[in-house]
């Protein structure tokens, strides 16, 4: 996971505004259907993207504007994506991954729980530049019969 992008790639860059969460969610959901995810799986991907981007929007740049980048690609028949910001980073990554962890009483702290529940793999790291946070997620379609649809051979 996290290797060189192959097959196809989508890159989005946007300001940390709440209105952009839906833009990212819907763009990645539309991108994902190029491989044979079920509609339920696409909804799960949209939810995971929403959670990761929301974390960046809410926490990365307290009281300030900043960029959020979402990159998605296909590798080995799976969807992989990263959500990056250049913000303040997460001081205690292990604590942040714990269920119901939150720094805001108005929030439930379910973001990472949902990401873990609905994606096959989730990693949270400091950003590649040393600043900010990178969330990497991976999900493979469970449906087998449509796999050839993505390589042009038609339905099995």
């Amino acid at each position: 996971m996290g290797g060189e992008p192959r097959e196809n790639i989508l890159r989005l860059e946007f300001l940390n505004l709440p209105a952009n969460i839906g833009v990212a969610r819907n763009a990645i959901g539309t991108f994902a259907v190029q491989i044979p995810f079920t509609l339920d799986e696409v909804d799960e991907i949209r939810l995971a993207v929403s959670e990761a981007v929301t974390n960046a929007v809410v926490h990365a740049y307290p009281g300030d504007r900043g960029w959020v980048r979402v990159t998605a690609w296909f590798a080995d028949g799976a969807l992989e994506l990263t959500v990056d910001d250049d913000g303040c980073g997460i001081p205690d990554l292990a604590a942040a991954r714990a269920a119901t962890y939150t720094t805001d009483p108005e929030r439930m702290g379910l973001g990472f729980s949902f990401m873990d529940s609905f994606m096959d793999q989730v990693e949270v790291r400091p950003g590649p530049s040393g600043r900010g946070t990178r969330v990497l997620m991976r999900k493979r379609p469970t449906r087998k019969d449509g796999e050839t649809a993505s390589d042009g051979d038609g339905p099995a």
Partner: protein, 163 residues
């Protein structure tokens, strides 16, 4: 029975989101003008909020604002959240719902959710929300449940089985 934001429609089955009066300070800010994303109705003690769209951080903030503006004023202590126009919900939306639930508890009122789509309902269940806030298929059913509970005694734990 006062109905703000929806003057002429059946109170039990409002079909269109209320816009509110822009000059009325009780009107949620996003209800002003044509960009209605959280509609509302007021039926006596009960506020009905009708979010429309994807209940993510953006709409959750508007839902929170609408709840703050409308609940706890004029004796309004109970809330029905009409979710029929919500296709998507994430943890921000869930947090907003639970935040309004906490506010209703403070006011010793009641809260119910109506019209949740199967996907939204499944996430509410996964997050444990359905264990504390009852889901109803119809707005009328949710209203009846909340109003009966209120009339049965505010702040009591009387059980009600929706019909």
């Amino acid at each position: 029975m006062a109905v703000h934001g929806l003057a002429t429609r059946s109170p039990a089955l409002p079909r269109v989101l209320g816009r509110g009066d822009p000059a009325d300070p009780r009107t949620p800010s996003r209800c002003r003008g044509w960009r209605v994303t959280v509609g509302y109705h007021i039926l006596g003690d009960v506020v009905i909020l009708q979010p429309q769209g994807d209940l993510d951080l953006k709409l959750a903030e508007e839902l929170r604002r609408a709840g703050e503006n409308l609940l706890g004023r004029g004796g309004r202590h109970s809330l029905v959240l009409d979710m029929r126009r919500v296709d998507f919900i994430d943890s921000s939306g869930l947090s907003a719902i639970l935040g309004r639930y906490r506010r209703v508890l403070e006011l010793q009122g009641r809260m119910a959710v109506s019209g949740a789509t199967p996907r939204v309902a499944s996430l509410l269940e996964l997050a444990g929300v359905t264990g504390i806030i009852p889901l109803h298929a119809s707005l009328a059913g949710a209203l009846a449940a909340v109003k009966e509970r209120v009339e049965g005694g505010r702040g009591t734990s009387r059980e009600h089985t929706p019909t």
